[in-house]
Chain length 146, copies 2
């Protein structure tokens, strides 16, 4: 139960298992992400990494992160790098991003569902909004929306 102190061998192992070269840079980036589970931004990661490897460049941190995300060792929390979109549908609903077309479809959900999701929160959490987003492929014109 101490993922914070992964050592060189373990980190290398993990990277190799994903068929990526275990470069020192990738290792350090992975290490700092595993060390503190606080969902750091790239800037924060860059700062932490630099304290261990002062010569690393920001571009490399971006590169490493991309690699780590691709091979599934790390997850991106704000998937959406694309510009903000707006939506006049005020009912509770989810969104479906079609990876193929880039379109965003509304998915109407049973009013209950959203409420039930809220109830899943542990005590101490009080949510004022819920966002549910799917990503994937949609049939050409799934439900006549256009």
């Amino acid at each position: 139960m101490k993922p914070e102190t992964e050592n060189h061998a373990t980190l290398c192992q993990r990277l190799k298992e994903c068929d990526v070269r275990p470069t020192p840079q990738r290792e350090v980036v992975l290490k700092v992400i595993l060390a503190k589970r606080d969902h750091p931004t790239v800037d924060e990661i860059f700062a932490r990494v630099k304290s261990q490897m002062p010569t690393i460049s920001l571009a490399t941190v971006y590169n490493c992160l991309e690699t780590l995300v691709q091979c599934g060792l790390v997850r991106q929390v704000n998937l959406e790098r694309a510009p903000t979109r707006y939506c006049p549908n005020l009912h509770e609903h989810a969104h479906f991003h079609d990876d193929t077309t880039g379109q965003v479809h509304d998915i109407d959900l049973p009013a209950e569902t959203m409420k039930r999701l809220q109830e899943l929160l542990p005590p101490g959490f009080d949510a004022s909004s819920v966002e549910l987003t799917f990503r994937g492929r949609a049939a050409d014109n799934p439900h006549g929306t256009n």
Copy 2:
């Protein structure tokens, strides 16, 4: 059932109900968002608005959108304007953004829940990933995470 053709009076009405001045700019921005429910980006909104009001500025579109979102007439789809964050938790889980501290907490969810959400999708939709994000306030240190 024709929200596409909201007229001047209706739009004004809607704005006034929210205690915002019904300026022509706000009216046009609202109109174009209601006209075509395709989750446009700011750029797209700007283009559509300009065709009706060529002198409007991009900054105004941003201002109007902020107002409309604040008063609940329009929703933002990619809430996250903040930088992308990274997370080493590979289990199915949701995220909770604490509005007060800006921190992001992992919320472990019953493995079933995520699966059940997928089943809510209408036929023709095939999701490869689901993202569930709560926003609100959390007790100081909800479950000892730090």
